[in-house]
């Protein structure tokens, strides 16, 4: 909980050249259950500055942003805005105080027009108030023109593309007179021209005295746009530097440099034949294109990359959730093109999804039913349920995977995250797949269960399974992967041998040549 009212805070050491910051965070910490997402982070933002926030997945950037915008309450630490300490910040309050955030998923009303969306954001809350449609439209047009967005105020938001929706949000933030604007990977889906326009907007905001927090993985953007950069690692800040003082290599080193704190079970088998082969695979809708890779039996192929690089999208193509529109998928020598998860399962592909609570486990149903959900045709021939067989299967898995539960009838929702993940894994192991795709298998799982799951995965590989492991946890990918593929921008850019240095992987994920720019 944030501490109560304090005496007037000491301003940051104000020298003639560094005025008091616009936004200041001191010692901010936040934990979720047993996981510490932020530990004592210090961060400050000057007015009229673009301050980049850098860090790998899971470093704590999103949590920090959510604390700043009031979506999360910090467990400790203080937030100061323009000299005034903020306690009990809520999203609505943050908006009122002039903190705006442009998320990757815009929070707009899809059925309403652009002008209306902006209007609802800017107008006061009284109910009996006449809406001046002319005024609204004019205001929206003016704001849109100011940021150079060629969007009609009358357009329905649902019909706009994601970048256009982002621009609408920016227009709203600008119109609301925001003092702090947070941008979370704003250029992720923009064309070059749109990026340039966005940069111009950011520069204009800076010139107008707005403080911009800019999260991006594209180092060239950071160097082009930002004044300072703060690197987060494992929930703590490892340094704030002026951009002109840093090199790309230096930034990468800050991002990944760490002690290897965990030991991973070593590979015990030599890879066998090729199980999965992708040649030029792509899916037009999801941005995945030209992926070539091979996974062998008994091998763990780690798939690294930043959020938005297309790894989950690739998994969804392989699992039949989105159709493959280009290239050839070969499984065990046979060409396949699964059009539904059912088909994928019948081919021998299993996918343990990233979103455990929504896709991995049905929380309200018992563990045993969850575990058998993917094998109905095999375990229950003729559609007739066989509780004895189901129970013994469940008990076997509970034992093999050491699932901590009060019985195989306990609902999935009663388990901890790690144990839910084990149930999700059991469901897919029951299908006796040839290819097991794991998407963030230890996300949100405590340390103990994490290493258990790692041991299980290693054992599966030893038993001959081909494993494709998507993970944003760099040490995990490095420690578990026999080979590591790096995805970026929807395609596989590099394949590195197991044991490659972290900086190489990160550089590939960022699209940098890590040797470039060495001082």
């Amino acid at each position: 909980m944030a501490r109560g009212p304090q005496p007037a805070p000491k301003p940051m050491a104000a020298t003639p050249s560094t005025p008091a910051p616009l936004l200041s965070l001191r010692g901010v910490a936040k934990s979720f259950g047993g996981v510490r997402a932020l530990r004592g982070v210090d961060f400050d933002l000057q007015a009229g500055e673009v301050h980049a926030l850098l860090g790998e997945n899971g470093a704590g950037k999103s949590t920090l942003i959510k604390v700043i915008t009031g979506a999360h309450q910090p467990d400790a630490g203080e937030i100061t805005l323009a000299g005034r300490m903020l306690g009990g910040l809520t999203p609505a309050l943050a908006q009122q105080l002039g903190i705006a955030c442009i998320y990757q998923q815009p929070a707009l009303f899809p059925d309403l027009t652009v002008a209306e969306n902006i209007g609802l954001r800017l107008e006061p809350a009284a109910a009996i108030r006449r809406i001046g449609w002319q005024r609204r439209r004019a205001l929206a047009a003016e704001l849109l023109a100011r940021i150079g967005a060629h969007i009609s105020p009358e357009a329905e938001v649902r019909a706009l593309s994601m970048p256009e929706q982002q621009l609408v949000e920016i227009a709203g933030a600008v119109g609301a007179g925001a003092r702090v604007v947070v941008m979370d990977e704003p250029t992720a889906s923009l064309t070059n021209r749109e990026q340039e326009r966005l940069f111009t907007i950011v520069r204009e905001l800076r010139a107008a005295g707005v403080g911009v927090i800019y999260i991006s993985h594209r180092l060239e953007e950071i160097f082009a746009l930002a004044d300072r950069v703060t690197v987060l690692r494992d929930g703590a800040s490892v340094g704030t530097h002026g951009v002109s003082d840093m090199t790309e290599a230096g930034l990468i080193k800050l991002m990944v440099g760490r002690e290897v704190a965990q030991l991973y079970p070593p590979a015990e088998s030599t890879p066998g034949e090729i199980v999965l082969k992708l040649a030029g695979v792509g899916c037009a809708d999801s941005g995945v294109h030209g992926v070539n890779l091979e996974v062998r039996a008994g091998e763990i192929f780690g798939l690294a990359g930043l959020v938005g690089a297309g790894r989950t999208e690739l998994a969804r193509v392989l699992f039949g959730i989105t159709p493959v529109t280009a290239g050839v998928i070969t499984l065990g020598g046979k060409t396949i093109a699964p059009r539904s998860p059912q088909e994928a399962v019948s081919h021998g592909i299993a996918y343990v999804p990233e979103d455990r609570r929504r896709h991995g486990v049905v929380l309200e149903m018992p563990i045993s039913e969850n575990m058998t959900m993917a094998i109905h045709p095999r375990l229950f021939p003729g559609a007739w349920l066989r509780f004895g067989a189901e129970r013994s299967l469940a008990l076997d898995f509970i034992r093999d995977l050491a699932v901590k539960c009060s019985g195989c009838d306990a609902p999935g929702g009663s388990l901890s995250g790690g144990n839910q993940q084990k149930v999700s894994l059991a469901r897919w192991l029951a299908t006796k797949p040839r290819l097991l795709i794991l998407d963030e298998p230890t996300q949100g799982v405590d340390v103990g269960a994490k290493s258990e799951i790692h041991r299980i995965i290693r054992r599966l590989a030893k038993d001959g399974l081909a494993v494709l492991m998507i993970s944003s946890d760099l040490p995990e990918v490095l420690g578990m992967g026999d080979r590591i593929g790096v995805m970026r921008g929807g395609t596989l850019t590099t394949v590195l041998p197991g044991g490659a240095p972290a900086s190489t992987v990160m550089a590939a994920a960022l699209g940098q040549d890590e040797n470039k720019g060495a001082a």
Partner: protein, 310 residues
């Protein structure tokens, strides 16, 4: 695709039907029967305004028929007791508002699905009414019918009043902040909450308004005949929902307006007399009504899939 494509297409369909009638059954266009038709449908128009609000808010209310009956009987009893009309009208609206607030409490307060709640209140109200009234008619005193004016004048008053209400509500929906909140809540409840709108309160209010309008419509019905029979209002909900859905108000909430709903109502209202004039049996009316609802919903569904992708 034009934002108002649905509303325009319904109006076009209406135009076609009217044109067809002009060509094949010109007897349709006689002033007196048309006026009578309009007068009969005036209460429906008023209820439709409320239903449009409910559906834009991503809810539904199938209890309006029963609400209408209860309000009709109550209003009739008050009138029979000698209450002047200028008191009966607000009283009826108030009774309707109370009935609506019952729905609102359960739906907005307890977050229960509106279809089942209004299903339950529909039956409870209707059966409760039957229990109390035993199917008895309410005989109205002489001064009530047509507001004590001549039939023609009374009819014009009713039609004008209904249209005035339509226009007022249509304008309020578009130009009043509270009106836009209904769209916001129906479009995305979470985003509405984050924007500082209170979705539960808006939803509650929408049902109260629905009830009040139903009460108002009941008095418009009251002045049209010398007695109230307890079966009035049967089938009203379907008629009104059909009109609204056909008129372009999406069942998924957040879009549509009263003008389109009005066109939908006119279209559906023309069916029955059109059938008569084209010498098709009136018994096809319900089937055509159902088919039109389905067509409208299918059109909406296809439009969502091909048009605006999110």
């Amino acid at each position: 695709m034009n934002r108002y494509f649905r509303e325009l297409s319904v109006t076009a369909a209406l135009g076609l039907v009217l044109l067809g009638l002009a060509v094949f059954a010109p007897a349709f266009y006689q002033p007196q029967p048309l006026l009578s038709l309009a007068t009969r449908e005036a209460p429906t128009l008023v209820v439709m305004c409320g239903m449009a609000l409910v559906i834009i808010c991503r809810q539904i209310d199938i209890s309006v028929g029963s609400q209408f009956s209860v309000c009709s009987v109550c209003a009739g009893l008050l009138a029979a007791r000698g209450w002047p009309l200028f008191l009966v009208v607000p009283a009826s609206a108030a009774i309707g508002a109370v009935l609506g607030s019952l729905n609102g409490l359960l739906i907005a307060g307890l977050r229960l699905p509106s279809i089942v709640v209004t299903l339950a209140t529909m039956v409870t109200l209707r059966q409760g009414l039957n229990l109390v009234r035993q199917g008895e008619f309410v005989n109205l005193p002489d001064g009530v019918q047509w507001f004590g004016l001549s039939q023609a004048t009374g009819q014009w008053v009713l039609v004008a009043a209904a249209l005035l209400l339509l226009v007022t509500m249509g304008l309020a929906l578009r130009h009043l902040a509270a009106g836009r909140w209904i769209y916001a809540v129906g479009s995305d409840t979470e985003a509405a909450r984050l924007a500082g709108i209170r979705p539960q309160f808006v939803t509650f209010l929408v049902f109260v308004i629905m009830g009040a309008l139903t009460g108002l419509a009941a008095t418009m019905n009251l002045v049209q005949s010398p007695q109230i029979q307890p079966l009035t209002g049967a089938g009203l909900e379907l008629k009104v929902i059909a009109a609204v859905v056909v008129g372009g108000v999406a069942i998924s909430g957040g879009r549509g307006n009263l003008w389109g709903a009005f066109a939908g109502l006119l279209l559906l209202a023309c069916i029955s007399p059109a059938l008569t004039h084209l010498h098709i049996e009136a018994y096809w009316e319900k089937a055509i009504q159902g088919a039109i609802i389905l067509l409208a919903v299918v059109a909406d569904g296809l439009r969502q899939r091909t048009g605006g992708q999110r």
